[in-house]
């Protein structure tokens, strides 16, 4: 073997080593998937969830990762608010990307479509926005679906109570988007109203393509509605508010949080601030070391100057806490196996998160990390989300 051959072999070996090192590094990573609306009318929700997950992942990785140095990598897929696209993305993340766990987005119909796939493939699926009751209460045993977000049944109780207390409403009317999320809330709101002894003025459905909602609102007005409870995403919710304005009907409006996932304030115009809606977190809350750390990162990375500048804050807050809970579970499970992570999530102890100090957030029969005690009411003020005084 002459010198030239030795040199060639050395060069080939160095090239091969250089090429292999990153891939060996990648093999050490733990991939987590996000299936959410990254474009479309709810794009802001996807962006805010991505921000929360990214900040949490970077913090965990900076501290050395989990399982003795493994780093998290976020793999995002856009479901475009479409259940079939969400299903395709989920299957791809599980089979091709081999994610250890999945996070979901704002749309209940998409999350409901993902639930059976997560359970069949034994992949933990943590919802960080969609509030449909059946997402976690899906009948599967064991159940791989968890949630760090609000739950419709509980939100519905809170909405009815708030409407009665804040606006002294005796006969609220419901305006619900005509999809599975609207249906889920119809049941919840009817049950909550019955439990509170409130008569509903009526239930009206809202289509995504409705230009004018005056006829539906007219029916509620004539039925004697003294408040409106809205369950819709930003665009159809905005159509309702514009119709309310055109009618000159200054009825109080209390809403579920779907409206905060898009440009609701721009779409509605001046009356956007009339809507009081529910959130699980506000960066206006009393500062804690965790909130100061997260807000600092939001300022540094995304140019956020005040709490009001944080887009769709619940997405960021829920996702941040959910990612940290998942990391704790993986560490506890000492594995990235789906079954082990699920069991570890159900056995987690305490964690000081952004939203609150979690104490045993999940159990075998309780997959909801948040409760009505964590809900707050907010409104838009000049394009920013601020707490209701």
């Amino acid at each position: 073997m002459n010198n030239k051959h030795v040199l060639n072999i050395c060069m080939a070996a160095s090239v091969l080593t250089t090429a292999l090192i990153p891939s060996l590094g990648r093999a050490q990573d733990i991939k987590v998937g996000l299936v959410a609306a990254l474009t479309g009318q709810s794009a802001q929700s996807g962006e805010s969830i991505s921000r929360g997950l990214t900040i949490a992942i970077d913090e965990i990785n900076a501290k050395g990762g989990v399982l003795g140095g493994k780093k998290f990598v976020l793999v995002k897929r856009d479901d475009e608010s479409s259940p079939p696209k969400g299903v395709t993305a989920t299957r791809e993340l599980i089979s091709s990307e081999k994610v250890a766990a999945l996070f979901g987005g704002i749309d209940t119909p998409v999350s409901l479509a993902i639930v059976p796939i997560a359970n069949q493939n034994k992949k933990p699926f943590i919802g960080v926005w969609a509030a449909g009751t059946n997402i976690t209460k899906n009948g599967a045993t064991p159940n791989y679906v968890f949630r760090v977000s609000a739950q419709d049944d509980l939100v519905d109780i809170a909405l009815i109570e708030y409407t009665m207390k804040k606006f002294n409403a005796k006969k609220p009317g419901l305006v619900l988007v005509n999809n599975p999320w609207g249906e889920s809330n119809e049941k919840g709101l009817k049950a909550a109203a019955a439990a509170a002894g409130v008569t509903l003025a009526g239930v009206e459905k809202l289509e995504q393509s409705d230009v004018d909602v005056t006829p539906q609102l007219g029916r509620l007005k004539n039925a004697g509605a003294d408040a409106i409870i809205l369950v819709a995403n930003a665009a159809p919710g905005a159509q309702m508010m514009k119709s309310r304005e055109r009618m000159g009907w200054n009825v109080p409006v209390v809403s579920h949080w779907g409206i905060s996932g898009g440009r609701f304030d721009e779409l509605v115009g001046p009356t956007a601030g009339d809507v009081h809606f529910i959130q699980t977190y506000s960066f206006y809350s009393a500062p804690t070391p965790v909130s100061e750390k997260v807000f600092g990162e939001l300022s540094k990375r995304y140019g956020v100057k005040t709490p009001a500048d944080v887009i769709a804050p619940v997405g960021t807050a829920n996702a941040y806490d959910a990612m940290n809970l998942l990391a704790l579970a993986i560490e506890k499970a000492k594995s990235t196996d789906g079954e082990a992570i699920r069991a570890a999530l159900e056995q987690l102890e305490g964690y000081q998160g952004l939203i609150k100090k979690y104490d045993k957030p999940f159990a075998t029969a309780a997959h909801e990390a948040l409760s009505p005690a964590d809900y707050i009411m907010v409104r838009y003020d000049g394009g920013k989300i601020v707490p209701v005084k």
Binding site: T39, G218, R246, L267
Partner: protein
């Protein structure tokens, strides 16, 4: 349903129905002349709204400059649709223009999706804020303006078709393109002009509907479908019929929602269209064609 609810439904339905009618006038214009239609009419409506929003709200251009520019661009686009997706197929006596116009509409929708984004945007208008109170009901100026513009255009179009030399030339092409050509009428140019005019009508509809609705790449689909239903319902060979078809569809929808809620309204309104066509295949105001042998 009380009187107030009925009046409210009529006002709402008239506004939306006029939009359907105005968009459907484009179907009438091209059908009357060339027996072809641009199925991408809904996309052209969307293009009008997106262009106006981009120029006024994002680039800060005056509406007085932006609106004529948008009208011109929509007219050019629609003319291009005729040149690329209709003329080559008609020349070969093929009906493939049906699919070709749908395809071009989808291409336009996707181009807008990538450039404008998928996020629906809100376009404000002072005409929406201003209004009058009639018997406890508030009607915005925009809601009044939409039917006025729609019927003025329909009337103008009908008068041009019947009374002017250009109108007669257009109808001559519809009746016998070869004879019209022999009489010195430039048929291809005239058909292109009709398509451009259809694009302008869709653009006007898009600009007027945008403040009531949201501006997005997908906004034209439902309007395109309903406008075509309005054209068929009213009778696609009559300008006034098309506008009236739009009004009937819009008002029916509004009354159905007021009476029964929105869940079944779409189903009922399209079912009604089918029933009307089964009874009167030429539409409510259409005339049966006479074939001279």
């Amino acid at each position: 349903m009380g009187l107030n609810e009925l009046i409210s439904a009529l006002i709402t339905g008239a506004g939306i129905g006029s939009m359907y009618g105005l968009t459907a006038l484009g179907f009438y214009t091209t059908y009357a002349i060339s027996r072809t239609v641009n199925f991408a009419q809904g996309s052209c409506l969307m293009l009008g709204a997106v262009l106006t929003f981009s120029m006024v709200n994002q680039s800060g251009l005056s509406a007085w400059i932006a609106i004529p520019l948008a009208l011109m661009l929509c007219g050019l686009w629609s003319g291009l649709v005729e040149l690329v997706a209709v003329r080559p197929f008609v020349k070969r006596h093929s009906d493939a223009w049906l699919m070709a116009t749908v395809a071009l509409g989808l291409i336009l929708e996707n181009i807008v999706l990538f450039t404008f984004g998928k996020d629906p945007r809100g376009m404000s208008s002072p005409l929406l804020q201003m209004g009058v109170d009639v018997g406890g009901l508030r009607i915005s100026f925009l809601q009044i303006l939409i039917p006025i513009v729609g019927f003025s255009i329909a009337l103008g179009l009908a008068l041009v078709m019947r009374l002017t030399k250009i109108g007669k030339a257009l109808l001559a092409i519809a009746q016998n393109p070869s004879a019209a050509k022999l009489m010195g009428i430039h048929t291809e140019k005239t058909i292109s002009l009709a398509f451009a005019l259809a694009g302008v009508f869709a653009c006007i509809a898009g600009i007027m509907i945008a403040p009531l609705y949201t501006v997005s790449a997908g906004m034209g689909t439902i309007f395109g479908i309903k406008a075509f239903a309005a054209a068929i319902l009213g009778g696609i060979d009559s300008a006034a019929g098309v506008m009236a078809g739009g009004l009937v569809l819009g008002i029916t929808e509004a009354i159905l929602v007021t009476a029964f809620g929105s869940t079944y309204a779409q189903m009922f309104s399209f079912a009604l269209t089918i029933v009307v066509l089964a009874i009167r295949p030429v539409g409510l105001f259409g005339r049966k064609g006479v074939n001279k042998i």
